[in-house]
């Protein structure tokens, strides 16, 4: 059970960071809606799992948060990307691109390539 959580946490964190980069400061619900829109089924599992991830990112220093008024006039916690978060996002993107291209190459492999 722990393993699944890890994998999900890692990709979730990435999605959070990217979302914040593209859309600017958002509150928790907003982030989860946007992620749901883009990723489809992935986040229909449990929206609540987002909050521990947000805490982890905040403790790592990748995002920061403040209280602010939201659209229904309640108080909500708004998260934004920090400079360190930007840098982290860039390096993660590079890693993913690298991994993806290596895997892609393997999927195009044919018997002759191993001669």
């Amino acid at each position: 059970m722990k393993k699944k959580k890890d994998v999900q946490q890692g990709t979730l964190a990435l999605m959070v960071l990217k979302t914040l980069e593209v859309l600017g400061p958002l509150h928790g619900y907003g982030i989860s809606r946007r992620i749901e829109q883009i990723s489809g089924e992935l986040l229909s599992v449990n929206q609540g799992t987002l909050y521990p991830v947000l805490l982890k990112l905040e403790q790592e220093g990748a995002i920061s948060s403040t209280w602010g008024p939201s659209e229904n006039n309640r108080r909500a916690r708004f998260y934004r990307l920090t400079r360190a978060g930007h840098k982290s996002l860039e390096s993660e993107k590079r890693n993913w691109d690298q991994t993806a291209s290596i895997i892609a190459r393997f999927f195009e492999v044919s018997p002759e390539d191993f001669a």
Binding site: G28, N46, G48, Y51, Q59, E60
Partner: protein, 883 residues
């Protein structure tokens, strides 16, 4: 980097106990509110909208748990929870907790004490530079006591001719003088050492300076004295201006040139000298010269090996020189081979001391092991009681590691508390040991230093692990479903042969070994105390005063000695008085060669016998209680003008003349033809373990000596006699310091090692006995309480009391029997080991074995009495109603 940042934040949260609960709750509420709103707009009803929102969000409590574990360090928080829970559980069963703590405190405390002593005596290096390159030269044949090994001229030859030592130092540690300074007089003892002593050892003075080899220009040329820190404080009140002042040692002036540091105590661990003077000046303080005497064994030799030289190479080199010397001086040098040992523990006695200390440490560890086995079985019993609870917790989601950690934490709590108590007690005991002077000159500096604390910590955690692992393993293996389903018939579970039983058996075996060891020690002590000494110490007082101060000539000395003895005889209550050169069992003895009459060449390879030689006054034999088997005592009328006579002991007579009449026989001693006029009984002169040595007694009037101790036998108690003798002797010589002691006190000092061994082993044995009792009691009580229902059924079905008792406590008693048997066998196998510790140890002795069997049986009876009675008192009807 971000990992560190995260860790830092988490630790801060842990410490400040900050919980983001409020914030999370608000965020969750906000999230749900918006989602509900969306759902309403999508067309759901109020309730449906809210419900769907909550469902979509996920399990709130799990998420809050995850959030919190992210927020803080769950590892530590769990540990704290375990600790609090553990404390609560332990408080619920106070008797168990207290017993367990006490057991551990005893076990760990005992280990710390013996380890502290071991550390102080064996492991801590001497306070000199590079002690590992220092070696003491001894004869190849192992000899107890006898620190001195060679004569001074031979030492000088060794010093000059060797190639393997950076330097050799000579020490005579038997120096004692009367010191006068201003108007105080004091008898002190110390070391006479060669000039290079301090330089070779590499020590620095705390005050003033030391003497060096360069200060020596021949005999009597360096009248300097170096004070020990202790003497400087007690006699000179730490007065810094004492440097350069002149003190009188036996009426000769010596200049105080320095004081050693407080930590330096010479080269022996137990005998601490109060002063050091150059050996070249020893004649002034000793009154006779051994610097030119090749026949007198007076020097202890210690040397520092050159770098790169092995002890074997040095030994070979030295033996080569010794063989040379035997050829050059056949009358005095015996050419016996030498060997090297490390200095510090009374020469060869180091082997005995080492064996004893390591043996006692091993035994103490055994006690701790037995205690751990005891606790393990008790803990295992407790854990099996909690099977249901553990199963429930497992079913509710606790992971196995959490359950095991919980049990280990309880074990850890007990062992930390027990360990702390043990270390504290041990520290107090060690401090007390330091202050208690075990013998006149022996000192112990056992402190609770870093290695000792470390040992304590290791033992504590080790024990916790040892006895905590058993129930933890149990928890690991328990399957919740089986347990809740089964309500495993408690009786059947208990009757299965389990690890518990093995542990109890092991514990009993260990305890039996310890009990055997202590019984062996007690028996050995009885042998030692009742071994025929050849003297009667009870009722005799010893008076020691240095007459050489007031009697410079031999005739005057004889006269004064006679005066003293007559004065002693005149004290009311005194039945006999005499004087002798040296008391038996005080060391300082070596054999003097005697030759057959008619021998012309007196060499070290043609002597007839090597007896101890004493000079004595008439009346000494009477005063000492040594029986004269044949012939007469010496008299004051035997002088240098009458034929030389001697009294010998039985062994001497038999060795030289077999069954023939010894009276009237002759032998040659120190070149003088001597006639035997009396034969005494045998006795012990050097140590308890020796076989009876040959002894010669010469009259003072024919063989003058400056050393004389007066022995006064009376019927009055020691305290009265001490005062009376002090007054009497003081009246004759008012200015001499007088030391008075009862002979039994002196002997007690000598017998101290044997007594210490017995006490140590006795204590271990007692601890072991207590552990056996608690072990058996615990097991028996537990068995009975678990099987009450079954026992009730048996009684209802008509079982006799005997059968009930057998069912109840049968298992522990059987284990007792098996364990004791194993323990006895182990002790017999370990006879060699026990002999190291106790004089004449013999576990195979039927008396000892019977004793052990009886003891264990008695302990078993004692321990199982209460549970057995409880079993017999079982009332079936009440039991049935309860369950």
């Amino acid at each position: 980097m971000k990992g560190l940042h995260r860790l830092g934040t988490r630790m801060r949260n842990l410490v400040s106990n900050r919980r983001g609960d409020e914030r999370l709750r608000e965020e969750i509420e906000h999230h749900l509110a918006i989602q509900t709103g969306d759902n309403l707009r999508a067309g759901m009803t109020h309730d449906e909208a809210r419900r769907q929102a909550v469902l979509k969000f996920g399990p709130v409590d799990t998420i809050r748990e995850e959030y919190h574990s992210e927020e803080s360090l769950s590892l530590i928080e769990n540990l704290l929870l375990d600790l609090r829970y553990g404390v609560r559980m332990l408080r619920k069963t106070p008797s168990f907790t207290v017993v367990a703590m006490l057991t551990l405190a005893l076990g760990i405390g005992a280990n710390i004490v013996v380890f502290g002593i071991l550390n102080a005596v064996l492991l801590r290096p001497l306070d000199v530079q590079h002690p590992e390159t220092l070696y003491q030269i001894r004869h190849k044949t192992w000899m107890s006591g006898r620190l001195v090994t060679t004569s001074y001229p031979a030492f000088d030859d060794l010093r000059r001719r060797n190639h393997t030592f950076v330097g050799l130092i000579g020490i005579n540690a038997y120096s004692s003088v009367t010191m006068r300074f201003g108007n105080f007089v004091r008898a002190i003892s110390g070391d006479e050492v060669s000039g290079n002593y301090f330089d070779l050892l590499g020590v620095e003075p705390a005050l003033g300076r030391f003497f060096h080899a360069a200060d020596e220009h021949g005999p009597g040329s360096a009248p300097y004295i170096v004070l020990s820190d202790a003497l400087w404080q007690s006699a000179f009140q730490s007065d810094r201006s004492v440097i350069g002042k002149i003190v009188e040692l036996n009426k000769h002036p010596f200049t105080v040139i320095g004081v050693t540091s407080a930590r330096f105590h010479g080269t022996e661990r137990f005998a601490w000298p109060e002063y050091w003077i150059p050996m070249l000046n020893e004649e002034q303080v000793a009154g006779s010269d051994y610097l030119h005497n090749r026949a007198g064994i007076n020097v202890t030799v210690i040397g520092r090996l050159k770098p790169g030289v092995t002890p074997q190479q040095a030994t070979d080199d030295l033996n080569g020189i010794v063989a040379q010397l035997a050829r050059e001086y056949p009358t005095t040098d015996d050419g016996l081979p030498l060997r090297l040992i490390h200095p510090g523990l009374y020469g060869d006695d180091a082997d005995v001391i080492r064996g004893f200390l390591y043996g006692v440490n091993a035994l103490a560890l055994l006690v701790l092991a037995a205690a751990c086995a005891n606790l393990a079985s008790l803990f295992a019993a407790r854990a099996s009681d909690r099977t249901r609870e553990l199963a429930l917790r497992a079913a509710l989601g606790a992971s196995r590691s959490r359950l095991a950690t919980q049990l280990l934490t309880e074990a850890l709590l007990i062992s930390v508390m027990g360990g702390a108590a043990g270390v504290a007690t041990a520290a107090l005991l060690l401090k007390a040991l330091n202050r208690w002077p075990p013998a006149a000159d022996a000192h112990l500096a056992a402190g609770v230093t870093a290695p000792v604390y470390l040992a304590g910590v290791i033992l504590t955690f080790g024990s916790a692990f040892l006895f905590g692992i058993v129930p933890a393993r149990h928890a690991w293996q328990s399957s919740p479903l089986e347990i809740i389903k089964g309500a495993v018939a408690d009786s059947a579970y208990v009757r299965r042969f389990a690890v518990r039983d093995l542990l109890l058996g092991l514990q009993i075996a260990i305890c039996t070994v310890l009990v055997t060891a202590s019984l062996v020690a007690v028996q050995g002590m009885m042998y030692a105390l009742h071994a025929p000494l050849g003297v009667q110490p009870k009722g005799a007082m010893l008076v020691d005063l240095d007459l050489s101060q007031v009697a410079p000539s031999a005739d005057l000395m004889l006269q004064k000695q006679r005066e003293m003895i007559d004065a002693a005889l005149s004290v009311p209550g005194v039945t006999a008085a005499g004087a002798v050169t040296r008391m038996p069992m005080t060391g300082g003895l070596h054999g003097i060669p005697v030759y057959e009459p008619g021998t012309t060449e007196f060499r070290m390879d043609n002597y007839a016998l090597l007896p101890y030689v004493f000079s004595m006054s008439p009346g000494y034999l009477n005063a000492a209680g040594t029986r004269l088997l044949r012939g007469d005592d010496v008299s004051w009328q035997d002088t240098s003008r009458t034929p030389y006579i001697a009294i010998v002991n039985n062994t001497f007579a038999r060795k030289l003349w077999g069954e023939r009449e010894p009276l009237g026989q002759h032998f040659v001693l120190w070149g003088k033809l001597t006639e035997v006029v009396g034969v005494t009984e045998d006795g012990k002169y050097h140590d308890l373990a020796e076989s009876p040595p040959p002894v010669v007694y010469l009259p003072f009037s024919q063989n003058q000596s400056d050393e004389a101790i007066f022995v006064v036998r009376s019927r009055r108690p020691a305290s009265e006699m001490a005062g009376a003798l002090k007054r009497t002797f003081g009246r004759i010589e008012p200015n001499l310091p007088i030391t008075i002691q009862s002979w039994t006190d002196l002997l007690e000092d000598e017998l101290l090692p044997a007594r210490a061994a017995t006490v140590a082993l006795g204590v271990m044995g007692f601890l072991a006995a207590m552990l056996s009792v608690t072990g058996i009691f615990g097991m028996a009580a537990y068995t009975v309480s678990r099987r009450m229902k079954e026992l009730g059924i048996r009684v209802a079905l008509g079982a006799h009391s005997v059968q009930v008792v057998r069912a109840a406590v049968g298992r522990p008693i059987v284990l007792l029997g098996v364990g004791s048997l194993l323990g006895l066998i182990a002790s017999v196998l370990a006879t060699r080991l026990l002999e190291q510790i106790v004089y004449r140890a013999n576990p195979r002795d039927p008396v000892v074995m019977t004793g052990v069997v009886l003891t264990m049986a008695l302990l078993g009876l004692l321990a199982s009495a209460i549970p057995a009675r409880r079993a017999m008192g079982v009332n079936p009807s009440t039991l049935m109603r309860d369950e």
